[in-house]
């Protein structure tokens, strides 16, 4: 049984989606995250264990390798694809309460910015690490963030921006969110932003990579 979870974590780490997927080459012809998750559930493995002992360790390893520049965006995207395939099998168990997510993370690219690659990467990594993720998409206004956090009290909000022209919108959005729902935590990321900027605009955290967001959430939801 542990063997299945180890295999599942490797499928996530190396981005093996299913049996048919040719990627990664060294795992060609083997079962992927899809088959292994199904088999694990059929053989009675606890859905919570599938999440926390299969998916999460795999996602964590790829997150660390990404931070260390040992893998790049394509590998992380393949891992995320493998993870979301497995999640489809787990979804009913989250709904029934048989498996619990650690908390809720609301993410969006800020007003005026239509870029979504970085935002999607963070969303997928956070989900793969055991959180419920609400993705508000791109070009997201203060009002939308506020409505989402009112619907999901205690959620942490993640703001993304790629452009130097749109990072400035993070300041107003952060302020609006904190005025509307005091105590809401806001974490920011994106190519042009840094820790100094985070402090200047009154956000709570800056992460340079998706794993950093996961680590921040793990502390806040501990």
């Amino acid at each position: 049984m542990n063997d299945l979870l180890t295999k599942l974590s490797e499928c996530i780490e190396f981005g093996k989606i299913n049996l048919a997927s040719p990627y990664p080459p060294q795992m060609k012809g083997q079962d992927g995250a899809d088959e292994i998750t199904r088999l694990a559930l059929e053989t009675g493995v606890n859905p919570q264990d599938i999440l926390s002992k299969g998916l999460m360790p795999g996602m964590e390893r790829v997150g660390i390798k990404f931070r260390e520049n040992k893998v790049f965006v394509p590998q992380v995207l393949m891992s995320a694809k493998a993870m979301s395939t497995a999640m489809l099998h787990l979804k009913p168990h989250f709904l029934s309460g048989a498996a619990k997510q650690k908390g809720t993370f609301i993410i969006g690219t800020v007003l005026g910015d239509l870029h979504d690659i970085g935002k999607n990467l963070v969303g997928m990594m956070v989900e793969g690490n055991g959180y419920k993720v609400i993705d508000l998409g791109t070009d997201v206004s203060s009002e939308k963030f506020i409505a989402a956090v009112k619907e999901n009290p205690d959620a942490v909000i993640g703001l993304s921006a790629l452009l130097t022209t749109t990072m400035v919108n993070m300041e107003k959005i952060t302020k609006d969110i904190k005025d509307a729902v005091p105590g809401t935590l806001v974490t920011i990321g994106g190519a042009p932003v840094n820790n100094d900027f985070c402090h200047k605009i009154g956000a709570d955290n800056y992460s340079a990579d998706p794993q950093g967001v996961v680590e921040y959430l793990n502390v806040k939801f501990a």
Binding site: L111, G112, T166, F197
Partner: protein
């Protein structure tokens, strides 16, 4: 008019232009506004930018069409105007360049990922074909495909531009220095990998743009030269990493900082030098003065 590559073969180092995006912003472009729409609604402001770089001594001028592909314009509901907006962009820069300077039609990434099946190869090819043809129709001499991070998307863009226009095709990618000290794009592509693939796809000139400032660009040029001694190299460097102060973003590298590195980057093997985010006509003027002195 002669081709860029003929000028380079004469042994000339050429000067390109500086930033457009940050310049448009200074002229009042609002976050969320489509920059390419200005080619129709505020053509005089776009012309001013082009002209200010020409006056600064640039041998070539880009066009205000970086996000002018079908997919980006669709984000603003302007996908029906791809041809019109790109043609206008090239016409404006042509007017500023006159017949003596080159016009480089700017083509940026689509923002869609092939590997996530957000788009097909054919859809990408068609989008780059449409945009390149419109830029040529407006008077572009060359197409500059820039800020690419995915080699496959870059290759498709180069093919689409070279197979459907008579323009010289330039392609530059955006690299970061990774922890090991090597350079990679966000998608993990090295300068050496880029060089091999893009030259084979039909790019006449390759290089790098954006990034963290001109110092890193010197390392990137050296990496390209290690694997290819011949291909002309174009560099459009940022004025460093943006810094934020009192609601405004500024860039740390001054015109003199940039000009101070020009000799080094020419020695490394660069043939065309210009700026990207945060550079201004003053940067280009200083670069021009250094280049002229050679």
């Amino acid at each position: 008019m002669s081709k860029l590559i003929q000028e380079i073969q004469k042994g000339r180092v050429l000067v390109s232009d500086g930033a457009w995006g940050t310049f448009l912003q200074k002229k009042g472009l609002l976050p969320g506004e489509c920059p390419e729409q200005w080619n129709i609604i505020r053509p005089n402001d776009v012309f001013d930018i082009a002209q200010s770089y020409i006056e600064a001594g640039s041998d070539m001028i880009e066009t205000n069409s970086f996000g002018g592909n079908y997919f980006k314009l669709k984000g603003y509901g302007l996908q029906a105007q791809v041809f019109e907006l790109n043609k206008a962009a090239a016409e404006i820069s042509r007017k500023a360049a006159g017949s003596e300077r080159f016009v480089l039609g700017s083509v940026g990434p689509t923002g869609k990922l092939l590997m996530m099946e957000e788009v097909t190869e054919l859809e990408l090819y068609d989008a780059f074909k449409e945009q390149s043809m419109a830029l040529e129709a407006g008077g572009a001499d060359a197409i500059v495909i820039e800020t690419m991070t995915d080699l496959e998307e870059a290759r498709i863009a180069v093919k689409a531009a070279s197979e459907n226009t008579g323009c010289e095709v330039i392609c530059t990618m955006t690299f970061d220095k990774i922890l090991s000290g090597e350079y990679r794009t966000m998608m993990g592509i090295s300068p050496a990998e880029m060089t091999e693939t893009l030259v084979e796809a039909g790019a006449a000139i390759i290089g790098a743009n954006c990034g963290n400032g001109i110092a890193d660009m010197i390392g990137i040029v050296k990496e390209i030269r290690k694997v290819n001694a011949e291909v002309p190299i174009l560099i459009h460097a940022n004025a460093g990493m943006p810094q934020y102060c009192d609601g405004e973003t500024t860039f740390p590298e001054t015109p003199s900082d940039m000009a101070g590195r020009v000799k080094e980057i020419i020695d490394a093997g660069a043939n065309i030098i210009g700026g990207c985010c945060g550079t201004t006509p003053d940067h280009i003027f200083k670069v021009h003065q250094v280049v002229k002195s050679f």
